[in-house]
Amino acid sequence: MSEQLLEIEDLEVSFATEDGVLRAVSGVSFTVSRGETVAIVGESGSGKSVTVMTLMGLTRSPNARFAGTARLNGVDLISASEDKLEAIRGKEIAMIFQDPISALSPVHRVGAQIAEQIRAHEKISKAAALDRAIELMGRVGIPNARARARSYPHEFSGGMRQRVMIAMALSLSPSVLIADEPTTALDVTIQAQILDEIRQLTAESDTGVIFVTHDLGVVADIADRVLVMYAGRLVEQGTVDEIFYDPQHPYTWGLLGSVPRVDLEPPRRLPAIPGAPPSLVRPPEGCPFQPRCPHAFDRCRELPPLAPRLPDAGHLDRCWLTPDDKRVLRETGGRIGLTEGAAS
């Protein structure tokens, strides 16, 4: 295992709101090593975006509370001071956002925006920074970059804008790149190009990547390891193959089950996980997935720990069912999914 780039220990993030304290992330721990791509999946509201945003220090506000640590090259990002973080952001850890349309400043030229990131960390002239920006734009596949650098974001297509974001993020070859659903807003064909772009650039510089998404297709395509989050907690963690072929947590089954399969004839109604994510202000006792889990039983009133329950220590899950029960219960209609009948 290459040495750990980023270690996150018991990350807690909660916000004080009018209705009470909202616990967005409770006790999340994971690591990212050099050259490795870790995917975080889960429904919206599961805390995945909050987790990565907290790493970048972008969730700090008067009514936010943090706990736990996130060490990157020896620095704890959670407790770091604002100016310390400013030196790290964009240089050692960079981020690409979901909606390229609104993520770029509408009133600045594209080239200048990239150059701005470079000059924020290196003392070089505007012209030199612009040249590097243009060179970067070329590398991420933007045609005649020198001319296009002078135009504004609204003159670019969604895909092109995401390429600018990538160029910007990787301009100082950071050790960790966070991609927060970068392809969700794009159509499928562009999505594939962007994923290739990211994979190829991060492979070259051995960057550790955290890829947040709710699209399992993307996970399969790009991720080495997968973390499944639900209601602010990690419910399952393992390699791509373990998660896709030997999922342990019913919520993971549900996710896998709701992906339409090309190889099977289409079901009458797309399977979906019943119910809605629980309130994070007054979370239910025990296992958070319990209210929606068809296999819930009395033991689930007590929160199961995230622990390895299989021979491979890397594969952790948070469910009391025995591995054997799990293998039986996840089979439904010839594929892995949440048992259809029982839940209705």
Partner: protein, 345 residues
């Protein structure tokens, strides 16, 4: 609905499937309509409540003017008493000195805030003046509410020729220097009056302010109506055979009501202010009636010797307009869906 657990394993588990009533805390808060939400927020907003109370007090004081003048001060707002005297802690003093300087505040029942040049009781004139200012402000606001909404609705809904006439008209009034228009109209009408309305009736300033501020409400409402007009529920109403008037008043109007309510306090505050401007420049309330604007203007001559003559009506004016503005703010924040959730941590 029992759940028969599959083969062996853990003992058969009977679980009621409906997740919601599994644990009380898990339930979502009961949904409440926008108005109750607004009211709840308003009750929480102590600043707004304070100024609301202040506004009520100020209005009450002005409404009680006749009571004060009859029972306490004993003189009407216009009773001249130039050669009379008043007892100030024992000694009889001229209300207006031989050289025409009116007496300062006696802080007693008579001439509490002193007299003006004509020996009239300033406290009584202050309250009657308040009544005038508030009356003109209210009437003007009513005029604006009706005219503004109507113009906004017509221009927004009918578009075409109607809009072609109304919009530039609003543009014209909007870009016209309000004070000049108001003062010119005021001076002109004070002389001749319009038809049955006599020169110094209070309706003239109210009417002027009403006309001058119509675009203040007309333009935003026209914008809203233009937007609403495109929405499906209007087409649905039209399909049901509703005539344009019914659509406007039963369909569109309720939807712009929040805008109207949000603008109401703003317009009331500005109407009172504009009345003060007009009266200050001698084109609003005509003698011998008083309004806060005229009192401030008259008091300027004596600001050196008796500053209270000008500054107390000034304070009343500012407090009233301030209260209306703060309450307006509170209402807008309560109604505004993107309200900043004020967190008390």
């Amino acid at each position: 609905m029992a759940l028969d657990s599959p083969e062996g394993g853990a003992a058969g588990i009977i679980v009621s499937a409906a997740p919601s009533d599994l644990s009380p805390e898990g339930r979502q808060p009961a949904a409440i309509g926008p108005w109750q939400l607004a009211l709840r927020r308003l009750r929480r907003n102590y600043v707004t409540l304070f100024f609301l109370a202040l506004l009520v007090i100020l209005v009450l004081m002005c409404l009680l003017a006749p009571v004060y003048s009859a029972h306490i001060a004993g003189v009407g707002p216009n009773t001249n008493n130039i050669t009379g005297t008043v007892s100030v802690n024992g000694t009889q003093q001229n209300i207006v000195s031989l050289s025409g300087v009116p007496i300062g505040p006696t802080w007693g029942a008579h001439y509490l805030l002193g007299a003006d040049t004509n020996g009239r009781d300033l406290a009584v004139r202050l309250l009657y003046g308040g009544r005038t200012s508030l009356l003109i402000g209210a009437v003007a606001t009513a005029v604006i509410m009706i005219l503004g909404t109507l113009v906004g609705l017509l221009a927004g809904y009918f578009r075409g020729v109607v809009d072609f006439i109304l919009r530039p008209l609003m543009e014209l009034i909007w870009s016209f220097p309000v004070v000049i228009l108001g003062v010119a109209l005021g001076t002109a009408l004070a002389l001749g009056g319009i038809g049955p309305v006599k020169g110094n009736s209070l309706f003239i300033p109210a009417f002027i302010i009403g006309v001058v501020y119509v675009p203040y409400l007309g333009k935003p409402i026209r914008g809203e109506v233009l937007r609403l007009r495109e929405q499906d529920f209007i087409d649905a109403a039209r399909v049901q055979g509703m005539g344009p008037w019914r659509i406007m008043f039963s369909e569109i109007l309720p939807n712009v009501s929040t805008t109207i309510i949000v603008f109401l306090p703003l317009i009331l505050a500005n109407s009172i202010l504009l009345e003060a401007y007009l009266s200050f420049l001698g084109a609003g309330v005509q003698a011998p009636n008083a309004s806060w604007g005229t009192l401030i203007s008259d008091g300027l001559t004596y600001i050196q010797t008796t500053p209270t003559y000008s500054l107390i009506p000034g304070a009343m004016l500012v407090l009233t307009v301030l209260s209306v503005n703060v309450v307006g703010d509170g209402v807008r924040d309560a109604l505004d869906p993107r309200a900043q959730v004020r967190v008390r941590n």
